[in-house]
Structure formats: C-alpha cells, structure tokens
C-alpha cells in the first residue's frame, strides 16, 4: 500500500487576528508552501475545513475561503471538521491520484458569539435545543457522572488546566499564555457546576496548514517526513441520553487506529499525545479510553505526573485546546503539533524524550459524539 506523510506545517499566531478570514488564511497557506519550497501551481489538491455560518457568518465558507487556501482552479473539497479534512486529504494521496495535498483549517472565533451560543445549533430544534443543551451543559453532566462513578476529584480535573496552561507558556502559537494555579482554577466561577470557568476552553482564531505527500514526493520535500500509521474514527448516537457518556466511541476509534498502526500497548507505544480537551476533565476521560491508563484511573494518571511535559507520556505539550480553541480547526492543530513533536521542531515545548510515535485526537459534538484518532510516526 501507498504511504502518506506530513512534510510541512504552518500555524497562525495565537493572538486574535485583525485580518479578515480571507487574508488570514492566505498568510498561513503561503507560509507552508514557502517552507516546502513549492508554488501554488505545484500542489495537486486542496482540502479545507472551514467554519460554517454558525462560526463565521458565512454559508459554504469554503466558497469564500477558496482563494486564501490557494484552490483557484484546483481539484479540492471541504470536510466539516479539520481532522476529517486531514484524513480526506490522506485518502486522496493514498488513492494514487495526487502526490501532494494541502490541508487547511481556518476559523476566526473572535468574530462570533461564545461557543456556548453556537453549539446549541448541534441540537435538534424540537427537543435538545429548547431544553437548553449545548456542548458545555453536556460536558458538565458528563463530568458529574465521571466523578460520581470513579471518585475522580474536582482537584484532579483542575490539575489538567494547570498542566496545559503551563505548557502553553512555551508555545508561541497558542492563544492564552498565562499561568494559572490550582487555586485559580478551583475558585473560578462554577459556570456549569461542576464545571468551572477556567476548565472550559476559550474561543480562538486559528489557521493551520499541513502539507501532505506520497512517499516518493515526501522524501524529496523533506528529510523529516512524518508518516500516517494509524487512523480511526467513530460516531455515537445523537441524543446524549441514548448513550453512555462515560463509554462512548473513543475506544472504538482508538482501537481502529491502533490496529492499523500495529499497536497493542498504547501506553508504551505512544511517546506523546495531543488530545482534544475542550473541558479539563475530558483529558482524563479520553486518556482512559485511549488506553493510557485503566478505566477510572484518569485521576491517578494526572497525579502521577506521567502526562507532564517531562513525563513518560506527555499529553498536550502544546497547551491543548484549554489554551487555544479555534473550534473547527482544533483537530488539525492537534495533528500539526504531533507532527512537530515527531520532527523535533516544536521549539520550546518540544518534549524531553525521543518521539517516535505520536497520537493526535479530535472530537466534536455533545460529550464527544464524534472522535477521530490519528497515529503518526517518524
């Protein structure tokens, strides 16, 4: 089978952008092409993930983004969420039809109301929306169940924020770069009790571009290609009440990715993980389901220090989604960050250990309705 690799990555700076989406997107795409020494004309295909109207005031945002992603008169398409875009781009290369595909995710969260005002639109108009459901409400209910069932403490959940926001201090491309203490988190407003304000991700601007290539092409473009070795995705039931919020589809998604990558013990095989944690406790729950620890031991995992930057399995050395949440782009950010760790190009937030295999995870929908897991290797 064909192999596909990430060759180059570019990200927008984490601060709120004064550029319009059109120009903002162009700058990052241009940067990734320049890094690869390619012209727009050299790229075979463009796949974007653009924020739809609820996040951008634009319907078919890819129509507007088309110029900025460099897609004029090119083969291209759009997937809604950015981890999907990445995988779709991989399909395109693996099919043998394209040597290079540019994947871009673009969003300006600063231009719309809070995520809490936007995510109710995930809900159906008859039932979930009128009873006030949004992503935070479901996360809060999920957190209470998680603590209830396994005795996870609020402090353990809060520690995730301290860790990730601490890591973010070393990432120039992230949004919120301000250290917080455990006390800060614990005393922040309980906006969705038991969820506290500092345990919820911000809303951010973010454009990230990833150039991927076939094996032959990748080897020509870079001496540090990052190979796709595993991919898994799984979708859960729509109504949260129809599911077990503590045992959703992440195990299924991860299982598929591990099987493809030939990984039997993820705790040993994965060197670093970028996990999508819009709510602090979710990092712990997702880590369990990714097989980094046993069921119900997410609290112990954070206590042990293993997931710290200098631990044996660093999780979110970039600062994660808690430090930067460009909503529809956040999955591709995780993939880009995992690739940078493998390339040894993460700069100040490069983890101490040697990275041979990295995991990137993305989730969207209420309480993790959809999960994608990508395994990358050097």
């Amino acid at each position: 089978m064909q192999r596909v690799a990430i060759t180059h990555v570019a990200q927008s700076p984490g601060v709120e952008s004064k550029e319009n989406l059109h120009d903002f997107t162009y700058q990052v795409n241009r940067e990734v092409l320049d890094k690869a020494g390619l012209k727009r004309a050299d790229v075979g295909c463009i796949i974007s993930s653009s924020a739809d109207i609820f996040h951008s005031g634009l319907s078919c945002a890819n129509a507007f983004d088309w110029d900025g992603i460099g897609a004029f008169m090119k083969e291209g398409s759009r997937a809604e969420e950015s981890a999907m875009s990445f995988i779709y781009a991989c399909f395109r290369v693996l099919s043998g039809h394209f040597d290079t595909v540019l994947v871009t995710a673009a969003i300006k969260g600063s231009e719309n109301p809070d995520n809490d005002a936007i995510t109710p639109f995930y809900g159906d108009p008859f039932y979930l929306r009128p009873v006030g459901m949004n992503e935070s409400v479901v996360a809060a209910m999920q957190m209470r169940q998680y603590m209830d069932r396994y005795g996870i403490t609020e402090e353990q959940c809060a520690k995730v924020v301290v860790k990730n926001r601490g890591n973010a201090l070393f990432n120039p491309y992230t949004h919120i770069r301000k250290r917080v203490s455990l006390e800060d988190v614990m005393s922040s407003d309980r906006i969705y009790d038991p969820l506290k304000a500092l345990e919820c991700a911000p809303k951010s601007d973010g454009v990230v571009s990833v150039l991927i290539a076939s094996e032959d092409k990748a080897k020509k473009l870079t001496d540090k290609p990052v190979w796709l070795s595993g991919y898994g995705c799984s979708l859960d039931h729509f109504i949260p009440g129809d599911r077990n919020l503590l045992d959703g589809q992440l195990q299924a998604a991860a299982g598929r990715a591990y099987e493809m990558a030939g990984i039997s013990d993820p705790r040993k095989a994965i060197d670093v993980a970028e996990v999508c944690e819009p709510y602090a406790f979710q990092e712990l729950l997702w880590c369990e389901q990714l097989g980094f620890c046993k069921e119900g031991e997410g609290g112990k995992l954070i206590d042990s220090g293993i997931t710290q930057m200098d631990g044996s399995l660093p999780v979110n050395p970039s600062g994660g989604v808690l430090a930067m949440n460009p909503y529809t782009s956040r999955g591709l950010y995780r993939i880009a960050e995992a690739a940078l760790q493998l390339k040894g190009q993460a700069g100040e937030h490069q983890v101490g250990k040697k990275v041979k295999t990295a995991l990137a995870h993305s989730t969207h929908g209420f309480g993790g309705q959809c999960h994608s897991v990508v395994i990358l290797s050097a």
């Binding site: 109207i53 005002a117 409400v137 407003d189 009790d193």
Partner: protein, 154 residues
C-alpha cells in the same frame, strides 16, 4: 468587547419551518394531554423517550407506543450560571438527564422546585438517583416545554 480594529457587524437571521413528522407530532400531542409517550423496539425491546420513528440501535421501525410514568431518577445534572447570546432562559437554572421509569435512555429536561439561590445547597440536595416528577405547564402548546420541569419528590 469593542474591537480596536475595523469590523463589519451584522446578524444572520433565517426563518425555519421544521417538520415534526408523525412520531414527534404524536409525542407532542401526548404532552398536551399530560402524557409522556415513548416507543418500544420490537427487536431489542428497549423503550425510548421522546418517542422515535425507528430504533436508534436496531434501525427497525418502532410500532409499539407506550405511555411512560412522568417520574424517574436523576442520572446527572448541571447547575447553569453561565450567560450567553440567545440563551433559552435566564440563568441560574438546572438541566438534568433523567431516567424515566420503564425507559432505556436518559431524558433531558430542566429541574425546578429547588431553591436556586445557593448552588452549594443544590449540590447537597440533588444526587444521582434522586427521584423526580414532571411538573406540567398550565398552558399547553404541544412542545417539549409543556413539561415545565421535573421536581424532586418530597
């Protein structure tokens, strides 16, 4: 927050006419009569509320209607004090997942009849397993909010 750079402001506002379909029409008609209706899957035997046209697990048609007791127990809940644009009601309020007696899924709705002024006390009072009962809105509109909220049983 005012921006220090130039922007263009506007609202995207669009009208909708969402079809309920037969199943949800009947479900909401039931609420009007203070009845909570679910459907039972003949294949897996599970009962879902609100009623479904097809079983979310088996995808088979749901032919059997069941009236569900307007009582159940709390599976989980959150006390909302956050404020955001277009919010369904002014905070604070409580949203919960409730397992209605005889059903095989969680039902999402508000919890009322609780003093909301002190979140700590609410935490003392509401637990997993707390029994609740539907409180009906006097004026019915055949919609989900015909149930005003669920209140803890004394």
């Amino acid at each position: 927050m005012p921006k220090e750079y130039r922007t263009i402001r506007g609202d995207v506002a669009l009208p909708y006419k969402w079809a309920l379909g037969k199943t949800w029409t009947r479900f909401f008609d039931g609420l009007k009569e203070e009845k909570i209706l679910g459907t039972k899957c003949t294949q897996c035997g599970k009962v879902f509320v609100p009623a479904r046209t097809f079983c979310p697990v088996c995808l088979s048609d749901m032919a059997e209607w069941v009236e569900v007791k307007p009582e159940g127990e709390i599976l989980t809940w959150t006390f909302v004090s956050a404020k955001y644009y277009g919010q369904v009601k002014d905070p604070p309020y409580i949203i919960a997942t409730i397992k209605l007696v005889g059903t095989d899924c969680g039902f999402h709705h508000f919890i009322g009849g609780v003093d909301l002024s002190d979140a700590k006390q609410v935490r003392q009072k509401l637990k997993t397993g707390t029994k609740v009962k539907a409180v009906w809105r006097p004026e019915k509109k055949a919609e989900i909010l015909d149930i005003a909220y669920f209140a803890p049983l004394k």
